[in-house]
């Protein structure tokens, strides 16, 4: 049971880590993340990078959908904008990756603001349709604007580089992706303990009274769109550097749904939920494939039987989580933590 949690200053009370136990756990997590690429197999390393990219994009969508209450089906489109920006810059300029990723985020943010403009007038499902239209439109641009995007062939790009170092392997990319994911999460954590983040949540909970209490709705909704798309743009840029090829098919509509599902399964309006949701959505299909491989020696027909079943099992898992834990994976985590906080007493 946790005791002695009395704070002397407001600053200590509003800190991200309020106890030394939390700081120790976070340090251990960082150490584990650092050690992971040196111990993991190349397959696990590949998955680790994918989860990292997904965490950044899911956190972005969580800011928009989970915290500001604006449903968007444009996330894959914004990632595409980021990916094409990085690919084009890599082919046409010699800029190092921090600059290209920043520009990718900014270009995606600008597109996000444009897409967000209808959000003042429409919300809920109608906004989802408006953003869906935008993502179809972006897909069309990726496929047809050949001089810039390379059309259906797409673009191949050089590895990320900085100060003469090349980040060619998954191992090297891991050291770009994971620190950026941590940075993205810390920034979001700061956001929601300060003025702008509170305004986002106020708009989600009661937009009319938020306006009367002094929050200009359009400005903050567009800010949320811009920030969310910035995250998507950076994630898309990392995606481009990771696969080193970008085609219109890299960012299908189903990817937008993937991210929306990650936000919902993880827990809307919860940063930890974004991490858990991104990991769940990325790893569970892989785990199911692994399960098939394990079953094959015992049951030779497993691959034939399982491959069409994977999607169904995956879907059933999502539905199951929504029924048994509507507040997402983050809520399960919160219950586990609560148990240990109160231990050895029962809640």
């Amino acid at each position: 049971m946790r005791i002695g949690d009395a704070k002397q200053t407001y600053l200590a009370d509003e800190a991200i880590w309020t106890s030394s136990t939390q700081k120790i756990w976070f340090a251990l997590l960082l150490a584990a993340l650092l050690a992971f690429p040196f111990m993991a197999s190349s397959y696990l390393l590949y998955l680790g990078c994918l989860v990292g990219i997904a965490v950044i994009s899911t956190t972005g969508l969580n800011i928009l959908t989970g915290y500001t209450g604006l449903i968007s089906l444009g996330q894959a489109g914004f990632m595409g904008v980021g990916a094409y920006t990085v690919a084009w810059l890599s082919l046409n300029t010699g800029l190092p990756f921090p600059v290209t990723l920043l520009l990718a985020g900014l270009v995606a943010a600008a597109v996000g603001v444009l897409v967000g403009l209808p959000s003042l007038r429409v919300k809920g499902l109608y906004l989802a349709i408006a953003t869906l239209a935008a993502s179809v439109f972006l897909h069309f641009i990726f496929a047809e604007w050949e001089p810039v995007t390379g059309g259906m062939e797409g673009l191949s790009l050089q590895p990320a580089h900085l100060f003469g170092l090349e980040f060619r392997s998954d191992f090297a990319m891991y050291f770009i992706i994971v620190p950026l994911a941590i940075l993205a999460l810390l920034a979001a954590k700061n956001l929601f303990r300060t003025r702008v983040g509170r305004a986002f949540i106020a708009i989600r909970d009661r937009d009319i009274s938020a306006e009367i209490l002094g929050i200009p709705l359009l400005k903050y909704k567009l800010m949320s769109f811009a920030l969310s798309s910035f995250y998507a743009g950076v994630a898309g840029g990392l995606f481009a550097y990771f696969y080193r090829v970008v085609t219109p098919e890299s960012f299908p509509l189903s990817m937008s749904i993937f991210y929306l599902a990650a936000v919902i399964v993880g827990g809307m309006g919860n940063l930890l939920g974004g991490i858990l949701g991104a990991a769940f959505m990325t790893l569970v299909p892989e785990a199911l494939k692994l399960l098939t491989a394990v079953m094959t020696p015992i049951w030779p027909n497993a691959p034939v039987f399982m491959s069409p079943m994977l999607e169904i099992i995956f879907g059933a898992l999502i539905v199951g989580f929504l029924i048994f834990e509507p507040h997402g994976l983050a809520e399960i985590w919160r219950r586990i933590r609560r148990f240990f906080h109160l231990w050895p007493f029962r809640s």
């Binding site: 303990r193 300060t194 702008v196 009274s209 002094g214 800010m223």
Partner: protein
């Protein structure tokens, strides 16, 4: 001096005349109450002052300046704060965050400051926290619930948190839409005391809509009576109580003795 002057205000939705030619004034540093039967247009009037409804005719002058064309967030920044009839707290936030949100217009931190929590952003957060703790949370006696999510609070406390949020807006005019509706006697007395204390200590003019006649008559300095979108009486509590038009609006006839009883339950007891 009048801090708010409402003149010839008319508001209609299609054929429904919510407000017709409404004129009255709110003297500075008073507790002014708008009363009237259900559907009389009291909340519509509040929404016009907040800028959420745009009246077709007439004008609202605040500190001598016309408010027409000023958007709701700007009006909040000018010092027009309010609470809502059906509590409008942000359910996903703690009590403390709800109150801090009230101070939104008095803070400057932008997106980058919020993301980095560095320098001015952090300083500003700490200043607001200190102000909220010292001036509001202690004053309204809600320090035991500051870290709780508002959704878990009982109704009376939610009303108090909403008042706290309005105070964080550093109001010049505090508009309270039915501050004691649905409360028990003890909670009503607490709220009445808070409203009187706010007027004394905060240099704030209170404009209130309320149905509880006992409280209205006890704490108001000035009363305006609305019925079917029109002002039918205005003046001090004593005068309004005697006004035959008011009696008619509430009872539908002129049985003055009966209404006196309803307006003054205490006298009857004595």
């Amino acid at each position: 001096m009048n801090i708010l002057e409402i003149s010839q205000l008319s508001l209609s939705f299609g054929g429904v005349h919510a407000l017709q030619d409404v004129s009255f004034h709110v003297p500075k540093d008073t507790i002014t109450t708008v009363i009237g039967p259900n559907g009389a247009g009291k909340t519509s009037l509040f929404n016009c002052i907040s800028g959420f409804y745009k009246p077709q005719q007439g004008e609202i002058r605040y500190q001598g300046e016309a408010l027409k064309g000023i958007k709701p967030p700007k009006r909040a920044a000018l010092g027009l704060a309010r609470t809502f009839q059906n509590i409008a707290l942000f359910r996903g936030m703690t009590v403390l965050d709800n109150i801090k949100l009230g101070a939104h217009v008095h803070m400057k931190t932008g997106l980058l400051g919020s993301l980095s929590y560095y320098g001015r952003a952090r300083r500003e957060e700490m200043e607001i926290r200190e102000e909220v703790e010292r001036r509001i949370i202690d004053f309204l006696e809600i320090d035991h619930i500051r870290q709780q999510p508002v959704a878990s609070l009982p109704y009376g406390l939610q009303k108090r948190v909403e008042l706290a949020r309005a105070l964080a807006m550093r109001p010049k005019v505090l508009m309270l839409d039915e501050p004691v509706a649905g409360m028990n006697r003890e909670e009503k007395e607490d709220m009445a005391r808070f409203i009187l204390d706010i007027r004394e200590e905060w240099d704030v003019t209170v404009l209130m809509v309320e149905h509880d006649m006992g409280m209205v008559m006890d704490i108001s300095d000035h009363i305006a009576v609305l019925n079917f979108g029109q002002v039918i009486a205005e003046g001090e509590p004593h005068d309004v109580q005697q006004n035959p038009e008011v009696i008619k609006a509430y009872l539908g006839n002129s049985d003055i003795d009966d209404l006196r009883k309803r307006l003054n339950p205490d006298q009857e007891a004595a």
